[in-house]
């Protein structure tokens, strides 16, 4: 398939559309669009727990399907183990454990703080929740500091 969306959407198109999806989640189900909670309920389902929230499992599945659809529109999918500047800086034997460890930090952190970029950054902030503003400011500031630090440690290759 030819790539219809070869270029990323302009922010002033993509941002408001994402905002409308956040509003839809609240307006239809009275729930925040928090992807980390979707992971939580998929994990519950995997453990065969009865208190699984199926809405969250369905949205989780929908995200994967939607992302695949978007990939088709961009002319993909292309199976790859490329990982941008980080992939270029680290050999694969090092890259895999680093990404796994990074994933653990993400999972541990979002479960602890009760939200991620979507739950706190988009949904909670849109609901004008001070807790979500605090969480968003904290993970933004931390991520910027750690990125700059990593780049410095790796001699500026990132």
């Amino acid at each position: 398939m030819d790539a219809i969306f070869a270029e990323r959407l302009p922010w002033f198109v993509g941002g408001p559309l994402i905002g409308l999806v956040v509003v839809a989640m609240y307006a239809i189900w009275n729930e925040p669009l928090g992807v980390s909670s979707f992971y939580g309920h998929v994990a519950r389902l995997a453990r065969g727990r009865k208190d699984t929230d199926w809405l969250r499992v369905w949205v989780f599945a929908g995200i994967i399907a939607g992302a695949f659809l978007g990939t088709l529109l961009q002319g993909g999918p292309r199976v790859t183990t490329g990982y941008g500047a980080l992939g270029a800086a680290l050999p694969l034997v090092l890259l895999v454990p680093v990404l796994f460890a990074g994933g653990i930090l993400i999972g541990y952190g979002v479960r602890w703080s009760g939200g991620c970029t979507s739950g706190h950054g988009l949904s909670g902030s849109s609901a004008l929740s001070v807790a979500s503003f605090t969480a968003t400011a904290t993970f933004m500031a931390t991520a910027i500091a750690v990125s700059l630090l990593l780049n410095w440690l790796l001699g500026g290759v990132l």
Partner: protein, 176 residues
């Protein structure tokens, strides 16, 4: 729980004192039937599609924001919130009755230490991988095998946190 009805604000308020709001919604949705949950697939579809079209599932997009080289994702998130916040405010003011979850009340919990502690840990992981939970899924769907490594780590970290919380006697959160 069968005695609780969710159709009137009074019933909602009286039950809210006994149950967390998220649990009330869970029960309300169970009553609305499986259709209410399945419709979530469509919302996820829209969200996943947008994540890929704005390319936040690519390491470079997030990395260039965090290195302060490209304001694109800041503008993206800012304009998303600027769109959603007034609409949400208006819907709540009008006491919007959601089809599957009672009257719209966007939760605004008090600030706790976990919001800062957890976000520091998450922020570090975000910086290393250039991925957060939603885009990590999109990464896998786009064919990036290493996205699967991040997702596997994410599930591991999540279960690790649950184990630590159990040990500390903190009740597991129903929703994030």
């Amino acid at each position: 729980m069968s005695a609780v009805t969710f159709d009137t604000p009074a019933a909602r308020d009286s039950s809210a004192s006994r149950m967390p709001l998220s649990m009330i919604r869970l029960i309300a949705r169970a009553r609305a039937g499986a259709k209410a949950n399945r419709l979530g697939f469509v919302l996820g579809l829209a969200f996943g599609l947008l994540l890929v079209l704005v390319r936040v599932h690519e390491y470079e997009t997030i990395h260039n924001m965090l290195m302060l080289r490209d304001p694109y994702v800041f503008l993206l998130m800012g304009s998303a919130v600027a769109t959603a916040a007034p609409l949400l405010w208006l819907l709540q003011r009008r006491r919007w009755h959601t089809p599957f979850g009672g009257t719209l009340v966007a939760e605004r919990p008090p600030v706790e230490r976990r919001h800062i502690g957890g976000s520091i840990v998450f922020g570090a992981g975000w910086a290393i991988t250039g991925a957060c939970p939603g885009p990590a899924l999109a990464m896998v769907a786009s064919g990036n095998i290493l996205g699967g490594v991040v997702v596997a780590g994410l599930f591991t970290g999540l279960l690790l946190r649950d184990a630590v919380a159990r040990r500390q006697g903190i009740p597991e959160s129903v929703s994030c």
